[in-house]
Symmetry: C2
Subunit: 380 residues, 2 copies
Amino acid sequence: MADKFVVTPWEVSGRIDYGKLVKEFGLTPLEGLPKAFTDNLLFRRKKVFAHRDFQKILAAIKERKPFVMMTGLMPTGKFHIGHAVVARQMAFYQSLGAKLYIAVADIEAFHARGQTLEESRRVAMEEYLPSYIALGLKPENCEVYFQSARSADAGRANAYYRLQNMLAKHATFSEFKAVYGEISPGKMVAALLQAADMLHPQLPEFGGPVPVVVPVGTDQDPHLRLARDLAARTKAYRFTTLASTYHVFVPGLGGGKMSSSDERSCIALTDDAKTVKMKVNKYAFSGGKDTVEAHRKHGGDPDVDVAYQYLTFFEEDDKKLKRYYDDYKSGKLLSGELKAILIAKLNAFLAEHQKRREAARKRLHEYLAAPEEFTPKQKH
Amino acid sequence: MADKFVVTPWEVSGRIDYGKLVKEFGLTPLEGLPKAFTDNLLFRRKKVFAHRDFQKILAAIKERKPFVMMTGLMPTGKFHIGHAVVARQMAFYQSLGAKLYIAVADIEAFHARGQTLEESRRVAMEEYLPSYIALGLKPENCEVYFQSARSADAGRANAYYRLQNMLAKHATFSEFKAVYGEISPGKMVAALLQAADMLHPQLPEFGGPVPVVVPVGTDQDPHLRLARDLAARTKAYRFTTLASTYHVFVPGLGGGKMSSSDERSCIALTDDAKTVKMKVNKYAFSGGKDTVEAHRKHGGDPDVDVAYQYLTFFEEDDKKLKRYYDDYKSGKLLSGELKAILIAKLNAFLAEHQKRREAARKRLHEYLAAPEEFTPKQKH
């Protein structure tokens, strides 16, 4: 893989040097976290590796004060193991006492992808929400909402869209271009709505100023910066500065960022055991040598091996993981054997997940900020 | 006055040739109206002189089917006799069975004039609404709302702002520039919200497709065209094409368009009798001759005389008005005498109006789509 890499909201490519990104974006490495965090695989293994203003969140947790975790989902394609990284953080922050706001970005999908609101609703309700719930999301202190129908509470609905409209005051066209590459009226309103998504948990109608953390992939940092900048300029609201954390990308089977629209890149949480076996064996980029003899002699490279990378997300046991690493590097463990370990691990996880997912389907309504009757009354 | 004139949303100047405007804008002259209309001074005297697609409205009235009159107000400055032209149409359409939607453009005032939402609310509640009510607006079938807090009904609030967001899809930056001269993100969201103001009465949440008429001054036609164009392109909604009517400008005391920010231009509906007398005598542009002798000999020009123009709005009796016209033209009626007639007429009207206006203050809540508790919870 090349040393050159690109990480922007509209392109992620090359082999990403996260250390370099931290410096370029002016992020702070996540270090010295309390035990509750290091008990979690994602923080312990630096899958979540950097932040902005995260100390506010740590202080709130320590002092048992309210805080919010806000995130959004683009309701397109299949729910894959990359999406699970955010979903696991949802359940984790909830266990620490966070209130959760989860935006289904249907207005953004409409403008950026030309997807109807109805299709966005279907994808969110059939693909995303059941998986979130199966991955541990609880209905208490949690609001899932659609950008196109924020709330069944009129005061809250008005306040959310009012904020979107007010935020436009201090924005410039060139800022939007810097974040989005190209800009149209539709993309601009979607960008403002996304900023409102991140900031509205602090409106008085939603409980007033409060520390909010938005966990994102590094490619999303320009969106965070825009929301932070707009908040700082909007003096009428006294926003606590947004906190954010940055997680690594789960690589696609062939490397790069996992893409839900490419079967050869992603493992969906709905894939069956046979499909997972086929995909891992056929498409997973291997760090092993071309022949068994060469592998035994020189060993493989776990750092580029996609099967090993996936195990770092799914094998909870640090000791086991280290053994896989060492054995693969020494040549003791063959590429096919490593893949077989991953396949077994993934399929055990998916079998359990899919059972939970079916049960979750009946509970979607417990999570929604606005019930069915608030959805659009015509085809969009 | 010069023959050159300009009528755009951001400039109205020169002596306006309404016939030329009708041709240039592609409007249709209002002709052959039924008696209910010609009984009304504004229609009989061609103060409302042209339209687009008004036949839909006439048909609805004839067939006693539902129709809507939608209008907005910019909550700045004082309520003056120019504003009364729209207010009188409100009461008139209500008497014909229309449902009324009246938008207080506080988001637009925020972006275009830098005015806070609180100040907009104050101006609307203290200046505009009491005058509308005093001029005959009934609470039945009437919704006054603020753009920043559309409704106390969550389904309606969500639907209104959803429409604003959806309309952006089919808009281009150059269209906004054509309507607004210059454009910023703030002005753009305000423009989209204005289009939503005109179109949202047709959403299913508000009763579904229905003929809607928007009465405007000719300078506002670009806004109408933008809303019509966006509606036509937004296939998900089946909008009945917007109808509009066009009324003449009430001239300012010195000519031109009446401006509420210029004391020498406007007569406010809160002005006392002494102020009205002073303003008319001092500032009203006269079509009379310089000396009594010259006036008696050559006569005055009622067509440019502002006092006479005002009488065409306030003297209901066609015969009396014709006599003023003829006598002024022949020189029998002097400029000072004509002004005295107007002053008496205006002051009688204002005395009655101001009494009604005070009574109206107690009834504002009967007209509002969202009560006080839905207003913004912080200073904007």
